[in-house]
Structures are given as C-alpha cells and as structure tokens.
C-alpha cells in the first residue's frame, strides 16, 4: 500500500507546472513567435524585392512615357513650336516620377517645365535624354528631350508600395499565426493539457475515470483518454485482485505461523552450513535450543543433537542428494533432568538452498517400546526372564564366552511342587515360586541370569566361570536353598529341586542344545533320587 502512494501525497511532492513551461503557453507563444519571425523575414525580403522592382518599373515607365509623347515632341521641335513643346512637357509633369522636362530643338531650349534637379541629385539614377527625330525624315535628328526623374519621389513611391505590401503581408502573417495558434490551441494543446491535468489529478486508487475533451471524443486524444480509462480500470481490477490476494496470503501466513508456533512438533530451517536459521517454540523445547543461544551465533544442528559435525553434514547431504526426507533417531545425552531423551529428526531438502526439518520428542515412545520389549521377555509372576528373554540373553552371553570365562546353563526343576499346588492352592504355589525365584537370584551374581521357563522349571545362565566346578557349587547351593521349608501365610511348605548342568563346550554350540543337555542331566538327577544335581556328560 505504501509503495503505491496516494495521489494527494504525490501532488504535494511534484512541483506544479509553471505557466512558462505549460504546453498551452509554450505552443502558443512559440507558434506566434515563429510566425512573426518568419513573417518579418518574408516582409523584409518582399519589401526589399518589391522596392527594387517598383523602382525599376517606375523608371521603365519613364521610358514608355517618353515613347508616348515622342512624336508630338518631335513635331514641336520640328516646327520650333514652344507652345506645343510646353504642352508636352507640362503633360509629362503630371506623372509624379518626372521632376522636370526640357525639350530642345537643335541645341536651343524650346520648352522647360518642372523644378530644378539640383536639389534632388541621386547618383543611382541619371537624367534621361532621348533624341527627337524629324517627323518627315526619321534619320534626321532635330532636337532632344531631357527628363529629370523625380528620384526622391520614385524612391518614396517604391517604398510606399513596398511598405503597403509588406504591411499586408505582415497582417496576413499575424492573422495566419493567430488562426494556426487558435486551431492548435483548440484541437491539440488545450485538450492535451486537459488530459494531462485530468490524469495528474486522477484518483487511480478508486478507479476514477477521465472525461474525454469536449469535441475531441473521436480523435486521437479522445482515444488516448479512452485507453487511459481502460488502463485505469484494468489497474484498478489488478489492485483489487492484488489486495484480496495479499489479504488471503496474510491470513494464510497467520494460519501457518499459528500452526508453526503452536505445533508440538519442532520445525526448523537449516542453512547450508548446518546452522538453524529459524525454529519454532516446540523445537526450542525438544532439543533445548536455548542452551546454545546468546553466543552470537545461531545454534548448530550437530551440537543440538550431540553428534559429530560430519554425521550431521552426511545426513543433510543424503537428504539433498536423494531428494527425499531423511529420518533419524537421536539420543540426547547431556540434557538436564536425568531421564534419557530421544528425538526423531526428519530433514528435507528444498532444492539447493536451505533445508527444513521437523523434530519430535520420541522419548516416551522409546520407553514404551522398551517396556513392551522387556515385558515380552519377563515372566509376569516372578519378574524373571521367560524363555524368550532367556534365549535372547543367552545368545549374547554365549557369543562373549571363551575358555577362561565359560558359560553354564543350569536347569532347575522343583520336586513336589504339584503336591503344594494341590494341597494349598495355586495362590500358595505362586507365592512359593516367587520366593524360590528370589532365593535363586540371591545365589547368583549380577552378571548371571535367572529365568522361569514355565511351571516349576527355572533356568540359570552362569557367566564368566573359571571351570565346571564353580557351576557345581552354585547348583549345590540352589538344591540346598530349595530344600528349605518356606512359610507362606499360615502354612509352611517344603519342596525340593533337581538341577541339571550343561557347560558350554565351544562357542558355536547352540543354546537349545545346551538347554537340552541340562534337561537330560536334570532327569538323571531326578532318577537318582531328586534334590540333587548332575552335570551333562558325567552320568
């Protein structure tokens, strides 16, 4: 909105067009001025030419005049008739171009008329003298006629004529200039000024339209106005559309910002160097961005996740190269609060530029998964491992075993448990199983494992044994402990235990084979009279 500016505001900043620079004034003044200059040149030229021409014409007229009276002058000279000569001379004086006339018969002055030429001697024009021939013998010269031209008068006459024509031309030039100026003013400059002023004052923001100049609706200026109006309409429509679009965009931006701000998922933008450009509050909360704030540098993803920088870079470059989201779980180690935290980060490349990513706190889920996993491997009654748990652990333990640290599997089967169950009920039986499991656990080290395989059958995995003898000692302790009377509620129950021992002979022996061996040894102990232990392979 601000970039468009308001017409009123623009009006204030733009200097108004002065009279001197106005198109109307300039055009009119220039037209008239130019016409006057050209007119003056034409006037002066034509005055000069006309004056010369008129001068020549008047002088020529003198010759024609003499030709007209030549015969009569000849007669007068022939007859020596001063009266006739004076008539002729006097007649010539009627012409203004003639100052004086003298007619000679032979060398005698026959008649003279007019002023003396002495006062009016201009070098440019000599007096005219023509011989007079006899009327009866044309070859005989009987006198001559002399005419003094009225030089000043001829000049004045020519000048007056020239000035008259010049004045007419000047008047014509002024009239033409005025007419042209008026026409130009009416049909061109005034409509253009009107259009320019109208356009200048036009309130485009509100779609105002201009009126075409009066009388010029159908010429080019009218078309210009119509085009401008069309332009304004289109601009107005574009402005409206743009405003709507902007509002829509702002709304959508607010919406997205709200989502961004209130999301439970951490959202962040990562630049090419692994720095976080921006992030939402959830991101700050999940990875603890605040820990790295205040150093003047934006937080770095690798530091936030507690991983080596090259790992983070590899993750980013993978996402960029594969053009698909890369998802990875990270364990945050150095967070306060004790509990371990897991974060899932998804990185997505946006072309060559920055990457965006989302981060979710998956600690709860991780814990839940762990719980579920552990539940599946435990015996719900005693809290010991069940068969599955035992198998998983045994696999690991067997893998780590060697000659100095042997592994042995003890299979413990209670003797007389069914009778306890039948006599005192399942509840008492269950309690007994819990007490026995506790006893067995107390007899083994922390690095050993105890599992309930089902019913009254337990298995113990002993690790780090120096020899088979150590396993036998523990088996003996277990047999002894199980044989003790156990008070449960108001009753005291007593069972026994038969134990079979299988010591792992080589690391490649499967656990099932080991367990099977212990089972067989356990049956040997049962057959030998119960409450005893036997070692596989020793009968």
């Amino acid at each position: 909105m601000s970039e468009l500016g308001h017409p009123d505001g623009r009006e204030r900043t733009v200097t108004p067009i002065r009279w001197r620079t106005s198109i109307v004034a300039r055009t009119t003044v220039q037209l008239i001025g130019l016409s006057v200059v050209i007119g003056l040149i034409v006037v002066f030229l034509s005055a000069w030419v006309l004056e010369r021409h008129e001068h020549e014409r008047l002088v020529d007229n003198l010759g024609e005049l003499i030709a007209a009276i030549e015969r009569t002058a000849s007669v007068a000279a022939f007859a020596n008739d001063p009266q006739l000569a004076a008539e002729v001379a006097g007649g010539l004086l009627h012409t203004q171009a003639v100052l004086s006339v003298r007619i000679y018969s032979g060398n005698d002055l026959l008649a003279e008329a007019g002023e003396s030429p002495a006062m009016d001697r201009l070098p440019s024009l000599d007096s005219i003298s023509r011989p007079l021939h006899s009327p009866f013998a044309s070859e005989e010269i009987i006198g001559h006629i002399e005419i003094e031209p009225a030089r000043q008068k001829i000049r004045d006459e020519a000048a007056r004529y020239a000035y008259l024509v010049a004045a007419l031309l000047a008047a014509l030039a002024v009239a033409m200039a005025s007419a042209v100026a008026w026409v130009v003013y009416r049909t061109v400059t005034r409509p253009i000024k009107g259009v320019a002023d109208g356009l200048h004052a036009l309130d485009i923001q509100h779609g105002a339209q201009m009126a075409p100049p009066a009388g010029g609706e159908h010429n080019e200026i009218g078309r210009l106005v119509r085009d401008v109006n069309a332009l304004v309409r289109r601009m107005d429509a574009a402005l409206v559309a743009e405003r709507a679009l902007r509002e829509e965009r702002e709304q959508s931006e607010r919406r997205f910002r709200m989502i961004f701000e209130n999301s439970e998922t951490g959202i962040f933008v990562l630049d090419a160097n692994g720095y976080l450009q921006s992030w939402n509050p959830a991101m700050a909360r999940i990875v603890g961005v605040d820990r790295f704030q205040g150093a003047g540098m934006p937080p770095r993803l690798d530091l936030l996740l507690g991983i080596p920088a090259h790992e983070a870079a590899a993750l980013a470059s993978q996402a960029r190269r594969q053009k698909m989201a890369r998802s990875e779980d990270f364990r945050l180690s150095d967070l306060s609060g004790g509990q371990e935290r897991w974060v899932n980060v998804v990185l997505n490349a946006l072309g060559e530029g920055p990457m965006y990513g989302v981060a979710n706190d998956i600690s709860e889920r991780k814990r839940a998964i762990a719980n579920v996993l552990s539940m599946a491997e435990r015996d719900p009654l005693t809290g010991l491992f069940n068969r599955r748990g035992l198998q998983r652990i045994a696999g690991r333990v067997l893998h780590a075993a060697d000659e100095q640290r042997k592994v042995a599997v003890l299979l413990v089967d209670l003797d007389g448990f069914k009778a306890v169950n039948d006599t005192h009920g399942h509840e008492t039986g269950d309690k007994l199983l819990v007490r026995i499991s506790q006893s067995i656990e107390s007899l083994v080290r922390k690095s050993d494992f105890v599992a309930r395989l089902g019913g009254d059958e337990f298995a113990v995995v002993l690790t780090g044994l120096a020899n088979a003898e150590a396993a036998s000692q523990i088996a003996g302790k277990i047999v002894a402990a199980c044989a003790e009377a156990v008070p449960i509620g108001e009753v005291v129950v007593r069972v026994g235990a038969s134990v079979g021992i299988a010591v792992a002979s080589n690391p490649d022996e499967p656990f099932d084979a080991l367990l099977n061996g212990a089972d067989q040894a356990m049956y040997q102990a049962k057959r030998a009279g119960k409450s005893a232990f036997r070692i596989r392979g020793e009968g």
């Binding site: 008739d81 009866f136 013998a137 005989e140």
Partner: protein
C-alpha cells in the same frame, strides 16, 4: 431613288471628266517649287523645301519671311513626293501645331493661275506648280521627280 440616280450619274460623269486626264498628266509630270523671279533665292534643297512647307523655317534663306502656299490639285502629290506622307498624316501633323496657334499651315490656293499670281505679287511667297506651267515672273528653285 429616282432623285438619287441622276445625281449619282452626274457625279460619275463629272469625275470621269475631271480626273481621267489629271492622274496621267500629274503623275508623269514634275512638280517645281517656285518663287518670284526677283527673289534672292535661286536654289533650295529637299530639306529646305520640307522645312519651309512644314513650318520649321519661317524665313527664306537670304530673304525675308516665307509665305508658303499649297496648290489644291497638286497638294497630295506634292507631300507624297516630298516627305512620302499621306494627306491624312500631313493633316494630323498640322492639327497638333494648329492647336498651339504658333505655327500655321500654308495657305491653300485652288488654281495654278492664282498660285502664279500670288507668287508674283507677294514678297517671300513660295509655292509649287506642274513644271509645264512655268511662266514669266516666277522661277523654279527645286524640282520634285515622281
């Protein structure tokens, strides 16, 4: 019509009687310019004759005032031979001078006898007659050939 026919016939007869011999004799015959026999003038040039009869010279050379006279029957022939002008041209010439009043044309004399008589009696008189009519008391000073 009836009245006109006799007069026309008469005019034709009169012209035939008067003009038929005249052109033959006048054209063939020389005209002589004459003065009185006792005049100081003995010979004139064509130019002098022209100037005298057309008013330029008002004096006879070596004598007094000139009095030129035209002979009616020879006038046209005389001026045609002298300056090669028609009678109309001569009349027009004189008309301009008559208007000023300064110069007057020669007197016109109707008969050769009157002309001769005028030349004999008037001092400074000058005229012209057919050469064949030269008589005592006058002398030719210029001869105009045809």
């Amino acid at each position: 019509m009836n009245a006109f026919r006799p007069s026309l016939l008469f005019l034709a007869l009169a012209m035939a009687a008067v003009l038929t011999p005249a052109p033959g004799s006048a054209r063939a015959e020389e005209i002589v310019v004459i003065v009185a026999a006792d005049s100081a003038v003995s010979q004139l040039s064509r130019s002098q004759v022209t100037n005298l009869f057309l008013g330029r010279y008002k004096q006879l050379p070596g004598d007094g005032r000139a009095h030129p006279s035209d002979l009616a029957e020879l006038k046209d022939n005389f001026y045609r031979r002298l300056v090669n002008k028609t009678p109309g041209e001569i009349s027009a010439y004189w008309a301009r001078l008559v208007y000023s009043g300064q110069t007057v044309p020669p007197d016109q004399i109707d008969s050769i006898e009157t002309m001769i008589d005028q030349i004999r009696r008037t001092e400074g008189a000058i005229g012209y007659i057919p050469r064949s009519r030269l008589v005592e008391g006058i002398k030719p000073v210029y001869q105009l050939e045809d």
